[in-house]
């Protein structure tokens, strides 16, 4: 674990270094790319709590990512057009303030995760995978057929949402906002994993029947993990919309769920920094191999197969030096 911890510190160092170098050498492209890594990393860390630590193989986290994105897009769209979202039963206007948008995104993602969790956690195994996938696909088709917000073409918001005093349109500034969120999410996840609650949900992954037999309400534990996981991924969706100033139904599609899962598997299941490393690796592959061939995912698939066959526990495990019986 010690080598992995050192490697994690290097990851954070590079997350500071690369955008700063991009700024110094006037290469905003690299700042945007690193911002994307950070945002997708947050989404992956969210999924990793459910999938990696609790064994909940959700194939529908695009629902939360997309919901976070659409809530941000819709609030911003109405604020920029000075239109009301609802006039009944109470007057609701849009907002382009991140400090308003983030709490709404967090609450709406948590609520959606609660609803999906209440229904899907009554199942296990392949049924759980299918039911989470079905929920996300329902939202995807709903977004496609909702013309008010662009339908299949998506929704552009032109101006990035704002924070007091700070110029969020500056790529480096927006990057550091995302990095702050990443650090907050890592901090919260680390606290959870090392807590009594974390002990319970990590035990559920290994032997749920035993956990039940010691009087722990596994359904409640799993539901809470699922809600926290969905909320974090929803927040990432909000930042993603602000990064691109655009949201479309594609972020609700099953492919998005698959990509978030790939970040987790590539980097390392049940490793705190795993999804971040996985997202970085994914983006680097996309940018390098994508320059040579449109079908770069073929190589991604090949790498995934090799990893699962020979490394199994992700890229980070290559930097692991676990001492036996180390706590």
């Amino acid at each position: 674990m010690i080598v992995e911890k050192i490697f994690n510190k290097w990851i954070l160092f590079f997350l500071f270094l690369i955008p700063v170098l991009g700024f110094i050498f006037e290469e905003p492209y690299y700042i945007t790319l690193t911002t994307k890594v950070v945002i997708l990393g947050i989404a992956g860390i969210g999924l990793n709590l459910a999938l990696g630590y609790c064994g909940l193989i959700s194939f529908g986290h695009a629902a939360f990512f997309g919901l976070g994105g659409y809530v941000t897009g819709i609030l911003s769209f109405h604020a920029l057009n000075s239109e009301l979202i609802f006039s009944w039963p109470f007057v609701t206007s849009g907002s382009s303030e991140m400090l308003v948008i983030w709490p709404i995104v967090i609450l709406s993602s948590a609520f959606l995760a609660l609803i999906i969790g209440l229904l899907s956690l009554r199942t296990t195994g392949v049924y759980f995978i299918m039911i989470t996938l079905a929920f996300a696909q329902m939202l995807y088709f709903f977004a496609i057929s909702w013309p008010n917000y662009g339908g299949e073409d998506g929704l552009s918001i032109y101006m990035r949402n704002s924070l007091p005093i700070i110029n969020t349109m500056d790529p480096l500034t927006f990057y550091f906002i995302c990095l702050c969120w990443l650090l907050i999410v890592i901090f919260i996840s680390a606290k959870l994993i090392n807590s009594s609650f974390g002990m319970a949900f990590q035990a559920i992954k290994q032997n749920e029947e035993r956990v039940k037999s010691v009087g722990i309400e596994t359904f409640k534990v799993k539901l809470l993990v699922f809600v926290i996981s969905g909320t974090i991924t929803g927040l990432a969706g909000s930042l993603y919309t602000d990064l691109n100033r655009f949201i479309s139904p594609s972020v609700l599609n099953w492919q998005m769920s698959g990509e978030i899962m790939v970040f987790v598997i590539l980097g390392g299941i049940a490793r705190l920094y795993g999804p971040l490393v996985g997202a970085a690796f994914f983006i680097v592959l996309e940018q390098t191999l994508g320059g040579y061939t449109e079908n770069w995912q073929f190589w991604l698939g090949l790498i995934l197969i090799l990893e699962i066959l020979y490394v199994r526990t992700g890229i980070l495990s290559l930097f692991e030096k676990k001492f036996k019986y180390e706590k």
């Binding site: 609650f197 010691v214 706590k327």
Partner: protein
């Protein structure tokens, strides 16, 4: 007459035409060890599963400490005081021995949903876990991953998990299977000590251990209780010798 802490009446379970348990009526008194013996496939483990609620029964009732728990879920039954071991060791393999015990202490100490305090800093939980590990003679191996423990040590850990819950009754399913002589003796002494706090319903194939421990013995065959009595009564029972013991004792 002694008070009954666990009272099971007419508990039945069928899979199609096959009756796994057939109107089983059995009870457990305060301060006693009640052994349940019988051939493989007789329905002993299924009965345990029905009592803990992991297998739903077809008919019958279960009363624990004068409370009808028949319709409670498995988790609710564990919460109100039924603690079990499994026939095949069921532990958290990637947790250390001490973390397995701490997990078992969580519900009782109402710490399951504590989210932002490090569990490792909870000295009270770890101190209690250490005491239990000493009782089951696993203290020296407390930091070893449960998956790396020997079979015998896993059986001890199973019992430790049950002890940590401080339940009203213990249901032990072959806790001494695969233990060496010293391990078996340790278990016998431990069970004698704990039965005054929480009586034990014990399934065990080691007849020496059963006869050394049990205050009463019930014999189950083809899902039916065929005899109940003291150790001496059971030893003398011809029907029991026919269906299970098969020899003169």
């Amino acid at each position: 007459m002694k008070n009954k802490i666990l009272n099971i009446k007419n508990l039945s379970k069928s899979y199609g035409a096959f009756k796994v348990t057939d109107e089983i009526t059995i009870d457990l008194h305060f301060d006693e060890i009640h052994a349940l013996i019988g051939p493989n496939g007789a329905g002993k483990s299924t009965l345990i599963k029905q009592i803990v609620g992991s297998v739903k029964h077809d008919i019958g009732s279960i009363i624990l400490d004068q409370e009808d728990i028949t319709d409670l879920s498995d988790v609710e039954r564990a919460k109100i005081g039924i603690s079990r071991t499994f026939q095949v060791s069921s532990i958290i393999p990637q947790f250390s021995a001490i973390d397995n015990i701490v997990l078992s202490l969580l519900d009782k100490s109402r710490k399951t949903f504590q989210m932002f305090k490090s569990i490792r800093n909870n000295k009270e939980l770890y101190s209690n876990a250490n005491k239990i590990l000493k009782e089951i003679e696993l203290f020296e191996k407390r930091d070893i991953s449960a998956s790396d423990l020997s079979h015998g040590d896993r059986r001890k850990l199973e019992v430790g998990l049950a002890l940590a819950m401080d339940p009203k009754v213990f249901l032990f399913d072959e806790p001494m299977a695969g233990l060496d002589e010293s391990g078996t003796n340790m278990m016998i002494n431990l069970f004698k000590k704990i039965k005054s706090n929480s009586p034990i319903l014990l399934i065990e194939h080691d007849m020496d251990a059963v006869f050394a421990l049990a205050d009463r013995v019930s014999v189950i065959n083809y899902g039916k209780i065929v005899a109940t009595g003291t150790v001496d009564e059971i030893r003398r029972n011809e029907l029991v010798r026919d269906v299970y013991l098969g020899y003169e004792i």
